[in-house]
Amino acid sequence: MASTTKEKVGWSTANILVVLFAIIPVLWILSLSFKDPSSLTDGSFVPKDWTWSNYKGIFKTSEFTRALVNSIGIALISTFVAVLFASMAAYAIARLRFPGKSVLIGMSLLIAMFPAISLVTPLFNIERNLGIFDTWIGLIIPYITFGLPLAIYTLSAFFREIPWELEKAAKMDGATPFQAFTKVIAPLAAPGMFTTAILVFILCWNDFLFAISLTSTLRARTVPAAIGFFTGSSQFESPIGSIAAASVIITIPIIVFVLFFQRRIVAGLTSGAVKG
């Protein structure tokens, strides 16, 4: 496409504006996390005195470290279970014709669309009665529920792209349906599974609503919720520096993931968009 200088300038300006709009809050948080409490409100974007004290502070107590362990554990388990079940469901949706298939797809779409906030109160009561309130499993279950539709949609798009004849060939080669799935289909769908896993992981990792509503102690509180409970080291000290430091810490794994698997995520999202 031939483009004039005018067009180039126009697009560049627009792009820069969008990027700035997105990145300034992030940089701001980063900046806050390096300021000491006295200079928090000095109005300068770049900290005048750089300090690690906010970071040291949050790792001193178990409030943050315990939440970090909860976050990692809960997100990993939810992701694993969701992708495992979703890969089977997506395979069935992409390959088999069975009664109630469209109902299944509709239901999973319905769940994905369902406003989570309306489920919080019933879930709170159910979990308290079941005795799983404020436990890992109490968070893992709703995360799987909301992770599954996303995973099923992304994965079925991937499965649809695998030629069906490969499966027939595996069958003719003497594979049971399970062997055909694990030895032929799953390895080919691995990039798709990876993408899906990352998307589901981010979903669980970022959740605040369930984390704040279904936990009450450090037993299962994840980082986003734990940050909300941060207080300064004394009652009169603002916790903003600690909150900023914690936010930066939990952003790091996501940034690493995304940078590392950038191309795969993009491929996964677009293939889901076009074929799904």
Partner: protein, 403 residues
């Protein structure tokens, strides 16, 4: 090694559509049988039923005297070569070929031995550690064959294995397939829509149309004695020429002139045919430049003149295209053949006649040429049913029973 018997096998889909209708076919041990027909005729469905990839609605399928209707594909001991090759992209050539044996828990030394042997037969030895993505079309095709060969199965099933190759390679691989099949002497069922492949490869050819078996026989039998209009038009390239004709006392009136009937044809018609419309079929090679016909043969045919539109020189012979006054012969079968050959799409007309002449001919494009047609191999078809009215009785019985 085993024979395959289809006994009134029918495939009916849940929506009532019948893909394969009561097919009975006996394939002897070691035989190479071709299923051929236009797309949608049920040949691939038939193959998939033999493979076990599709359920059989009615009828019985026996492999090696064992009824296998409800046996899973993996327990039928048959190997299949797919049109798309269906190689496993994440495995090397060696792993692709060894996959079936590995699943069968064959000892590693035996696997190595068989893969090496198959690679040697197929000239793939130096490619064993490459992935399919890095292979050419012909090499991929050979890997697909190799995957079937290493298993040493009771039968090979091939679903248009050559149709993804370019024309030159296809001819080469055709010979290769034939050689390998002869060497291994394994029962083979081969599906194709290409009549040339069918003619050149098979011990026997089964022509299908709309889920029905039209005729089964040796390629030459199908060529010389097609039982109906469809087989006549499908087998042979260039295809048989058809024109409307009217049966009168001892002759057929056609646009070429009055063609006398041979004694044989007259006997086959058995006096029943006077004053009725027929479709006359003439193979391109039954025409000749009138100037080149030996005097002794001239009496067996009729000379006529026609304006030659197009002349195609093939070196060994010359194809002359001309048109006749009046419309083309019409029947459902001919329409289907036209659709299949693409003539319906390219706007070619049905009343065009192709003649295959000796390369020595002096005829030029646009000439009003004197041509001669041999009336001995003439075929007469019933326009309604498409049945061949001039089937040689002895040939017909030979074609009906499996040889």
């Amino acid at each position: 090694m085993a024979d395959i018997v289809l006994d009134h096998v029918t495939k009916r889909y849940p929506d009532g559509a019948v893909a394969v209708d009561q097919i009975s076919l006996e394939i002897a041990d070691g035989e190479f049988v071709i299923l051929v027909g236009p797309s949608g005729c049920g040949k691939s469905t038939t193959l998939n039923m033999i493979a076990g990839l599709e359920d059989i609605t009615e009828g019985e399928l026996r492999i090696g005297n064992k009824v296998v209707n409800n046996v899973a594909p993996k327990d039928r001991d048959i190997a299949m070569v797919f049109q798309s090759y269906a190689l496993y992209p994440h495995m090397t050539v060696r792993e692709n070929m060894a996959f079936a044996l590995k699943l069968a828990k064959t000892p590693k030394s035996v696997i190595d031995e068989k893969v090496t042997e198959a690679a040697r037969i197929l000239d793939l030895t130096q490619h064993l550690d490459r992935k399919p993505a890095n292979l050419s079309g012909g090499q991929r095709q050979r890997v697909a064959m190799g995957r079937a060969i290493v298993r040493d199965p009771a039968a090979f099933l091939m679903d248009e294995p050559l149709s993804n190759l370019d024309a030159k390679l296809r001819v080469q691989m055709r010979t290769e397939v034939s050689r390998i099949q002869k060497r291994l002497a394994t029962t083979t069922v081969y599906v194709t829509h290409d009549q040339t492949e069918a003619m050149t490869l098979g011990d026997r050819v089964a022509v299908m149309r709309n889920g029905l078996l039209q005729q089964v026989g040796h390629p030459q039998d199908l060529y010389r004695n097609p039982t109906n209009l469809f087989v006549a038009g499908f087998i042979g390239s260039p295809a048989m020429n058809f024109m409307p004709g009217r049966l009168e006392e001892g002759v057929v009136r056609t646009k070429l002139g009055d063609l006398p009937l041979t004694d044989e044809s007259r006997r086959a018609l058995d006096g029943s045919g006077t004053g009725r419309d027929v479709i006359v079929g003439v193979r391109p090679e039954n025409f000749e430049d009138a100037a080149l016909v030996p005097p002794g043969d001239k009496a067996h045919g009729v000379t006529f003149s026609a304006t030659v539109d197009v002349l195609e020189s093939m070196g060994s012979d010359v194809f002359a295209y001309f048109k006749l006054e009046g419309g083309p012969a019409e029947s459902a079968e001919l329409e289907e053949l036209a659709r299949d050959s693409g003539r319906a799409d390219t706007g070619g007309e049905g009343d065009q006649i192709v003649a295959r002449l000796d390369a020595a001919t002096q005829i030029k494009e646009g000439d009003q040429a004197e041509l001669w047609v041999d009336v001995r191999p003439l075929h007469l078809f019933e326009p309604g049913t498409g049945a061949n009215l001039t089937v040689r009785p002895e040939a017909a019985s030979a074609a009906a029973a499996p040889s």
